[in-house]
Amino acid sequence: MNVLSKKPAAGEEMAKQGLAGNQRLYALVAMILIYILFAVFGRNFFSFETAVNILDASYYIGFLAIGVTFVIITGGIDLSIGTVAMCSAMIGGVAWEKWGLPFTAGLVLILVSGALFGLLNGTLVSRLKLPPFIATLGTMMVSLGISSIVSKVQTVNFPSRTSEEGWFKSVFSKVQLPSGAMLPTGAILLLAVLLIAFVVLNKTKIGRYTFAIGSNEEAVRLSGVNVVYWKTIPYIISGLCAGMAGIAYASTYTTVVPGAGQGFELDAIAGVVIGGTSLSGGVGSVFGTLIGVMIMSILRIGLPSMDLQPHYQKLFTGIVVIIAVLMDISQQKKR
């Protein structure tokens, strides 16, 4: 009897943290350590400008990663986000540049097409029961094709800072402060989206069912929940975030080429995994995801400052991903 009447206390802290809590903490510590390492040993690394560069480098991958976190928590995967982001940016850009739509309408169109690709993925996975890997692989190819078709295989140029729509860069990328420093408005936008994503994931039904489905889909179904509906939504969120990533990319790099975006999804998924979201579902956090993406950016910006070529970033990122997953596995074994 005393086993059951013992005061339950230890679980409470864990409940708040979620199971991802531990690994998220490790990721945060790792991020700070790596940053300090570069700050001490790297040339000209420790500066506001570098910090802005790091945020900048996390920018569009950050949106992708936040969105795909939702899908991964359900136990699924979204491989289409990279090409969907570029395809959506292409559609919006062509609508503005070639079809003469107002620029703001073009931006809205980018978000809408991202969400529609998400709806397609969600429908394929939850209603038509395709394995997420296959469904989103298909959508990846479809979006690649559409981007080339819509653009007639031609590059689209988004407005530059000096053009009439120059506010685009100021709002979605950076703005120059009177002091001369660059304020990373894009990064601020990313943080805002991160906060919204956090609230959705932890305080709304959408989030509750996202975790529940990832934890035990059959149990959710037997509880009388419309699983087909609730499992579609994370894919729409992922698509919508891909749309935002498309805007972010266009504002940072100005030029969008057709058929681009392959490989972005893997960077995003790597960030999610480093941040402690489990690929087997049920566990995850968007803050962890952002930390994961930041770790990759710090490596990318920091390695050159230690005279290591940027492609060492891939090597080190790979190692970090493997360590992160190994830690995830060892924690699951303990339970």
């Binding site: 059951l4 339950p8 679980g11 409470e12 409940a15 975790f211 149990a219 959710v220 009388g224």
Partner: protein
């Protein structure tokens, strides 16, 4: 007289080729605990699935809370106040207790979830049941016993007035069982009716008011628990006519050499201090209820699961078995109960499957020697009388009995002298069954030694030279060929601390 809340009469249910339920009766009063008993496959689960709408009945009437009902799914049964607590708990391990209890019934304030409200309500429900569990605790961190309490609390919060508990104590500690019984008594007082499925005689005696016994899908009878004896119930459970002629006497010579000696084998909860010997040319059967630990013994012996301690001697030689490879090298072959998952590669041909365990012997430096493989495969197809159009036929296309023969061929080609058959005739029709029995006897005549794990008593009685009975991870009895079903069943129910019924 309390209200009758459930009355099932003349319920029948068939599946292709099997009559799972034949004219079954069952009733339940408010505030009553009614045990449903029977051997594995007697139809207990099928009856409960018919009740809760997972299966649709073919015939019969079900009246629930005074109204005739015909549930099409579990949701309808739930709405009517019927909840089933499955043996395999159905929960979301990553969510909190309260989130689990209120899944699909979340409370919201505007756009946002109101977790405080469900936590408060969960506390109230849990307190009413006298369960001290923090609603904010993560489900996966609770013990199985506490998880079960949460499932019960969830059922109560759904206003259930009829609970089905399917072997609820299977994974519980004694302390947890005590607590479960206390909760059950409280629920009785509140007028909740409970159907209790369990194999444990002492629990039946302690907690239930009446016992209904099913056998082979048929209704045998209902007893008032306090007026009945242990023996009476066991007799009702096994008293079927046996179609298979049981073996009267061991056919293994008493002076046959011991080929396998297992001492103090331990592996987890389900294998505790298991010791036994197997003689050359002997058929040794492991009997017991489902979950008694028989398969676990085989898996630990074979190295498929890690063992914590124990020594294994093959033909007098001490062998270290740390993985299936070691076991195979020691001449042990294991034929899994789940043939399709562990026994054969369905997408490969008969010939390829036949040499799967011994491909090295049929390979040169670079290439496999196809000619020899075909030769040996054909030889065994003939020897075992496997019915296949050709050795190139995919195993997927063979019947269950013939698939089993391919697995047997695989181990014979590997020169295994000790074969462990885990449920050798599961999913195999009657004709093929007797052929497998004949084959097993031929194998021992050739000097192989065989361990058979079986949940079907007639099969055990027909095959065994000697029977070891297991219960809860321990060997509780050993009988020779010719023993009665009742003897075996009473050993199978012998829990460690058994009070008299």
């Amino acid at each position: 007289m309390p209200e009758q809340i459930l009355n099932m009469t003349g319920v029948s249910k068939s599946f292709p080729g099997v009559k799972a339920l034949k004219d079954v009766h069952f009733d339940l009063f408010a505030g009553e605990v009614h045990a449903l008993m029977g051997e594995n496959g007697a139809g207990k689960s099928t009856l409960m699935k018919v009740l809760t709408g997972i299966y649709q009945r073919d015939e019969g009437e079900i009246t629930c809370f005074g109204e005739p009902v015909h549930f099409k799914n579990t949701r309808e049964a739930q709405d009517k106040g019927i909840c089933i607590i499955h043996q395999e708990l159905n929960m979301m391990n990553h969510l909190t207790v309260a989130q689990n209890m209120f899944i699909g019934r979340e409370k919201s304030r505007g756009l946002f979830l109101d977790d405080r409200a469900i936590n408060d309500e969960a506390v109230q429900i849990l307190a009413k049941l006298g369960i001290a569990i923090n609603p904010k605790e993560i489900m996966g961190h609770l013990t199985v016993g506490k998880q079960q309490m949460v499932e019960i609390a969830k059922a109560i919060s759904l206003n259930s007035r009829l609970l089905v508990l399917d072997e609820p104590t299977a994974a519980l500690t004694d302390v947890e069982i005590e607590h479960l019984f206390k909760v059950m008594r409280d629920l009785k007082e509140q007028g909740v009716g409970m159907i209790y499925i369990s194999h444990r005689m002492d629990e039946i005696a302690r907690i239930t008011d009446r016992v209904t016994v099913l056998r082979d899908g048929e209704y045998v009878g209902t007893l008032v628990t306090k007026d009945s004896t242990h023996d009476q119930i066991v007799r009702m459970m096994v008293g079927r006519t046996i179609f298979e002629e049981p073996k009267q006497k061991s056919t293994c010579p008493p002076d046959a050499p011991v080929v396998l000696e297992v001492e103090n084998l331990n592996a987890g909860r389900m294998v505790q201090d298991v010791s036994f010997q197997l003689k050359k040319g002997e058929i040794l059967c492991f009997a017991g209820l489902m979950g008694a630990g028989r398969t676990e013994v085989a898996r630990a012996l074979f190295g498929a699961d890690p063992k914590t301690s124990g020594t294994i001697r093959v033909k007098g030689q001490l062998v270290q078995i740390n993985g299936p490879q070691d076991a195979v090298n020691a001449g042990i072959g294991y034929l899994s109960e789940d043939r399709k998952r562990y026994g054969v590669a369905l997408g490969l041909s008969v010939a390829e499957n036949s040499v799967l365990a011994n491909l090295d012997a049929y390979s040169g430096k670079l290439f496999v020697r196809g000619g020899e493989i075909n030769q040996v495969a054909s030889q065994y197809v003939e020897k075992l009388n496997t019915r296949t159009p050709s050795i190139r036929q995919l195993v997927r296309n063979l019947s269950g009995g013939n698939q089993q023969k391919v697995v047997i061929a695989k181990w014979l080609i590997r020169n295994s002298d000790i074969l462990i058959f885990d449920e050798p005739t599961r999913g195999i029709d009657v004709g093929a069954k007797s052929e497998i029995y004949k084959l097993i006897h031929e194998l021992v005549d050739e000097g192989k030694s065989i361990i058979v794990i079986s949940s079907e008593l007639p099969e055990v009685l027909r095959l065994a030279d000697r029977v070891l009975v297991m219960c809860e991870g321990r060997i509780t009895g050993e009988v020779e060929a010719g023993a009665s079903q009742e003897t075996i069943m009473s050993f199978a129910h012998q829990r460690q601390e058994q009070p008299a019924v």
